[in-house]
């Protein structure tokens, strides 16, 4: 049996790499800055444990006054929940159509021209940056109170969100079929319709359904500022201290959100 001697420096006994003094100092500064940031946020929002505990008592009191639910508003709540869904559906559909028009320009790998790419990305960037709440305030003034202004707000903001996700999906797609059709002499629109769209149809549908799900929630709070629907009813009931009515509306809201989420999840699982 032979004996092997290994000479040299013993390996270190730590799993972490030795750090320079500069890196250590940077770490200390980062911890101090982070703590200061959170301390500022706590002070700025007026957060306090006292309010948390006193608020808990108020919440228990509120819950006591919220039961039993008031069944007389059930019909109106269901009707309002349908309006909420319709608003989200129309807004999402409008955004889908506009996004599909933007995607051929906004995806770097299929755009016909750099200028078209920059212009489409600008539209996407701006609409995504402006929250749907701000769009709703604008459209409530321009179009008037009601669900249609929320449809427009949802559509305008969702163009940015969906357009960006769709363009990125196209940029990540397998370009093989695109090359094959281009090589066969197909035009840009033909390539988009027959190679790009089928290639990412599942991703597109999944993202659209996910966006619909998100938009139903957005319509709820946009309804409270004048857009109608279930959000508007709920806001009014709480303002008028009609907590038993609010309970019924919340129950309908919960059912609506669960149904939309489950159905959208089922469809996405089937197609993706």
């Amino acid at each position: 049996m032979s004996e092997t001697t290994v000479e040299g420096t013993l390996p270190g006994r730590s799993f972490t790499r030795p750090r320079s003094v500069r890196r250590r100092l940077l770490g200390v500064v980062a911890v101090i800055a982070g703590t200061a940031l959170f301390a500022h946020a706590w002070r700025d929002t007026g957060a306090s444990f006292t309010s948390l505990f006193s608020g808990f008592h108020n919440t228990v009191n509120l819950l006591g006054r919220s039961v039993p639910p008031d069944g007389s508003v059930l019909k109106d709540s269901i009707r309002a929940s349908i309006l909420t869904f319709d608003t989200a559906l129309l807004g999402t559909a409008g955004a889908l159509v506009l996004s599909l028009l933007l995607v051929p320009l906004a995806a770097r790998n299929i755009t016909p021209h750099r200028f078209a790419y920059e212009a489409a990305r600008l539209v996407i960037g701006v609409t995504r940056a402006i929250p749907d709440f701000v769009f709703a305030l604008i459209f409530l003034v321009a179009v008037g109170l009601g669900a249609f202004s929320v449809v427009l707000a949802i559509a305008a903001h969702s163009v940015g969100v969906i357009g960006k996700l769709y363009a990125e999906a196209v940029e990540d797609m397998d370009m093989g079929p695109v090359d094959a059709l281009r090589a066969a002499g197909a035009g840009r629109l033909q390539v988009f319709l027959h190679a790009v769209l089928p290639g990412i149809a599942a991703t597109f549908t999944g993202l659209a359904l996910y966006r619909l799900d998100t938009n139903v929630r957005s319509v709820l709070y946009l309804g409270a500022i004048g857009g109608g629907g279930l959000g508007f009813l709920l806001y009014n009931s709480l303002q008028l201290f009609q907590y038993q009515q609010a309970t019924t509306e919340l129950a309908v809201l919960l059912v609506l959100l669960l149904v939309v989420e489950r159905v959208s999840l089922m469809i996405r699982q089937r197609i993706v």
Binding site: G176, P177, D179, A180, L181, R182, A183, A184, G185, A186, G187, L189, Q190, L193, H194, A195, P198, G199, A201, A202
Partner: protein, 232 residues
């Protein structure tokens, strides 16, 4: 990089291009239909200059050559027969090409006939992503047939196939060349297959054609040297 490649391929002839990785074989084919833009020089395909061509002019020129790729580039979520018909998209007016339901009946017949020609008539309605590698490559060849091109360019069409499927595909390409009278240029990595199926073999080193001969007049050493870059 390609240097001064001037190549004539003839109807009814199966020409095989051999060369080491990076020698310019795929670049040659991709430049021929301008999927790659050459830095300089010109690309003349079936009498049409491709460099500088745009829009309709470029699409018309591309229709003269049908490409069969190394990776089978079918639209996965579409049927075999739809994929075959896509070969003729370039000849359709826009309003007839918006959906495969709007394709003319004549094109549907041609697509089915092309599938039958490659022995896959019964696979017409199968989705492309359910086909085996060999079947998918035959669908790609049917797409090339449906395109009614003068030239078929196949870039390592058997690279991802098992030996039996590879032989079937090469037999098919040979038949297409001889029976349909198409000029067929095939890039291969297997000299033994080139010797068996080609009418003519080209050797390419560093973007230059270093030999152009009938298989019978080539010796194995000369081909082996091709892969060591020693052919002059």
């Amino acid at each position: 990089m390609l240097h001064g490649v001037d190549l004539d391929v003839w109807p009814g002839e199966l020409t095989v291009v051999l060369g080491a990785n990076g020698s310019g074989k795929s670049t040659l084919l991709r430049c021929a239909v301008r999927l790659l833009d050459p830095d300089a020089g010109s690309v003349v395909l079936c009498g049409a200059e491709l460099v500088g061509a745009r829009g309709r002019e470029l699409r018309e020129a591309r229709r003269q050559a049908a490409m069969v790729f190394q990776q089978v580039l079918l639209v996965r979520r579409r049927s075999a027969v739809e994929n075959v018909a896509y070969g003729a998209l370039g000849e359709l007016p826009l309003h007839r090409s918006l959906s495969s339901r709007l394709f003319p009946a004549e094109l549907a017949e041609r697509a089915h006939a092309s599938l039958a020609r490659v022995g896959l008539a019964d696979m017409a309605w199968k989705r492309a992503d359910t086909l085996s590698g060999g079947q998918a490559q035959r669908v790609a060849i049917a797409r090339a047939l449906c395109q009614r091109a003068q030239l078929v360019l196949a870039d390592e069409p058997v690279a991802s196939l098992d030996p039996r499927a590879a032989e079937e595909v090469l037999v098919l390409l040979g038949e297409i060349a001889r029976v349909e009278g198409l000029a067929t240029l095939v890039v291969l990595h297997q000299p033994e297959l080139a010797f068996r199926y080609a009418d003519r073999v080209l050797g390419i080193v560093s973007g230059q054609i270093v030999f152009d001969a009938a298989p019978a007049s080539l010796d194995e050493q000369r081909v082996a040297a091709l892969y060591q870059g020693a052919v002059t």
